[in-house]
């Protein structure tokens, strides 16, 4: 109780000496705070109620919907293991989409990161637009990219790969430029002093310092992308998602369960391997 008073009033009122407890002050100071807290909670609850009425989401619906969920889960078991050979190829395609998208996105991310880092590109007129571009790219979720690219390039893995390319570019470039800005300036200064060109500076001063972090970001993005790639098929951008969507559409929940289990296994294995490598790198 006393700690509360100190922390809320230390700036406006003289500090209350802890050794002389004064209950009337404590109560007087406590009241408006509690009132404010209750008001905040009330406001929050009112917002929630308005929200749920607005989109017609009520606990009643949950009550009705949950048994349906149970039926669905029951139909998923046992999974149809005979479907496994059919889904190997699409699973491999999913991994390929993620790998290609991540690496192709990482390549343009290198110059983008160098142009955004203030210690490598000291011109605000270059780094500011570059950073704005990266911020814009990162606001668009990968599936939206995929939906747009499917419309442009037609249904297939190529659209998915392009979507992941843009998405990876945004993340890797952002994380990398932050790393580049934090590198040790010593070697750079030493090289500048002996007359190194800007290219030499980057190749011998920046890259050796930033490379482990860059590869770690590459792997991290790959982990995100493999998850994204499993659902790209929902919008027609290739991979295992297409088959999952089909199985669910045909009410073959046992097949859907096989796909989901295989997907989870792949994601878990890749996540684990990647996390291990990342831990070694940094």
């Amino acid at each position: 109780m006393r700690l509360d008073i100190k922390s809320t009033n230390s700036t406006s009122t003289p500090p209350i000496i802890p050794s002389s407890p004064n209950d009337s002050i404590s109560v007087a100071l406590d009241k408006p705070k509690r009132g404010k807290r209750i008001a905040t909670w009330m406001l929050f609850i009112v917002i929630l109620v308005i929200c749920s009425l607005y989109i017609d989401v009520t606990p009643y619906q949950l009550f009705v919907g949950l048994p349906e969920m149970g039926v669905l889960l029951k139909e998923m078991f046992p999974p149809d293991w005979s479907y496994l050979p059919t889904i190997w190829a699409p699973t491999l395609q999913t991994i390929k989409i993620a790998v290609a998208g991540t690496i192709l996105g990482a390549i343009p991310a290198i110059p983008a990161a160098l142009f955004s880092a203030n210690n490598i590109t000291p011109y605000k007129s270059v780094s500011f637009p570059m950073r704005t571009l990266l911020n814009l790219v990162r606001t668009v979720p990968d599936l939206l990219f995929a939906a747009v690219f499917v419309a442009v390039f037609g249904i297939g893995p190529f659209a998915g790969m392009l979507a992941l390319l843009f998405f990876s570019f945004g993340i890797i470039a952002k994380l990398t430029y932050e790393t580049v800005e934090a590198i040790d300036p010593g070697p750079l200064e030493a090289m500048t002093a002996v007359g190194a060109t800007r290219i030499q500076l980057i190749v011998f001063g920046v890259i050796p310092q930033a490379l482990p972090a860059f590869i770690s970001y590459l792997l991290y993005t790959f982990e995100i992308n493999i998850r994204a790639a499993t659902v790209l098929g929902f919008v027609g951008a290739g991979g295992i998602g297409l088959l999952l969507n089909q199985s669910l559409g045909l009410f073959r929940y046992d097949r859907a369960a096989t796909i989901i289990i295989l997907t989870l296994a792949v994601v878990l294995i890749i996540d684990n391997a990647s996390t291990r490598i990342r831990r070694k790198l940094l």
Partner: protein, 258 residues
């Protein structure tokens, strides 16, 4: 020593190149159709001339209302997961139980929830409760548990044990300890994580509609299917604005809380 190190580096580089070539070989390039150029140009034109009339339509189903629905879905989804994840967080926190196996199982459960892609959760809920915002809210609510409960449990593991010990010494029971020693310490951090998850959820909510779970994604996929590029342009613009604005407000709030 250094030569071995060098060799290893080259091996890793070679490995990446090989994997990359393998991945590129599997992807057919039928994507480069003759129509692609025309379509790209018309998309660009659509972005240049967004369908401003769609922003507000008196009879409903317009951009503003769909964006509001997206926002509401993510608010409710985040709220649902913030409530649901609290028991999971205490389950997975190592300092909350004496047996080591209990938090271990909890952590494993959370990582399984985390690897489940949101869209799959959404599709399952659509099958269960029908297409619409409700499926979206449930999908966000369930999927977010994985990350939120992990962050919450790590916060709980980091609390100062002093107040807990004091309460134990006065003979408080388990619930009282949680209520008076743990919760007051973790609340600001929990609120901050919840807001952070809200930022992620708003991005997901924009895509949920692509599979029919409500929000702005539904009109977007319709506009894409009928190739109404001007409308696609205005919807994407709306999404970017929504994400930027909510990110800004949420990060402000987070800075204030901590």
């Amino acid at each position: 020593m250094s030569r071995v190190h060098h060799l290893r580096k080259w091996m890793i580089a070679l490995f990446i190149v090989v994997i990359f070539i393998w991945s590129m070989m599997g992807l057919d390039y039928q994507g480069f159709q003759s129509t692609s150029k025309v379509v790209s140009l018309s998309i660009l034109k659509g972005f240049m001339h967004p369908d401003w009339a769609y922003v507000y339509l008196p009879e409903g189903e317009d951009l503003l209302r769909e964006l509001l629905e997206t926002l509401v879905i993510s608010i409710l989804g985040t709220f649902v997961s913030a409530i649901l994840c609290i028991p999971f967080a205490f389950w997975a926190a190592a300092n909350m139980s004496r047996l080591r196996i209990i938090p271990g199982v909890g952590k494993f459960t959370l990582s399984v929830i985390r690897v489940f892609p949101e869209m799959i959760v959404a599709i399952l809920f659509i099958k269960a409760v029908g297409p619409g915002s409700f499926a979206g809210v449930l999908a966000l609510g369930v999927h977010s548990i994985g990350m939120l409960a992990k962050l919450f449990s790590e916060t709980i593991e980091g609390v100062d044990p002093g107040p807990q010990e004091a309460l134990i010494a006065c003979g408080a029971n388990k619930l009282q300890i949680i209520r008076f020693a743990v919760i007051p310490q973790v609340i600001p951090q929990l609120l901050s994580y919840t807001l952070y998850r809200f930022e992620i959820n708003i991005r997901s909510a924009t895509t949920l509609g692509l599979v029919g779970a409500g929000g702005i994604g539904t009109p977007l996929i319709f506009a894409l299917q009928v190739r109404n590029w001007n409308r696609v342009g205005v919807i994407l613009l709306g999404i970017v604005l929504l994400v930027v604005v909510t990110d800004f407000i949420s990060s402000r709030l987070r800075r204030k809380i901590i």
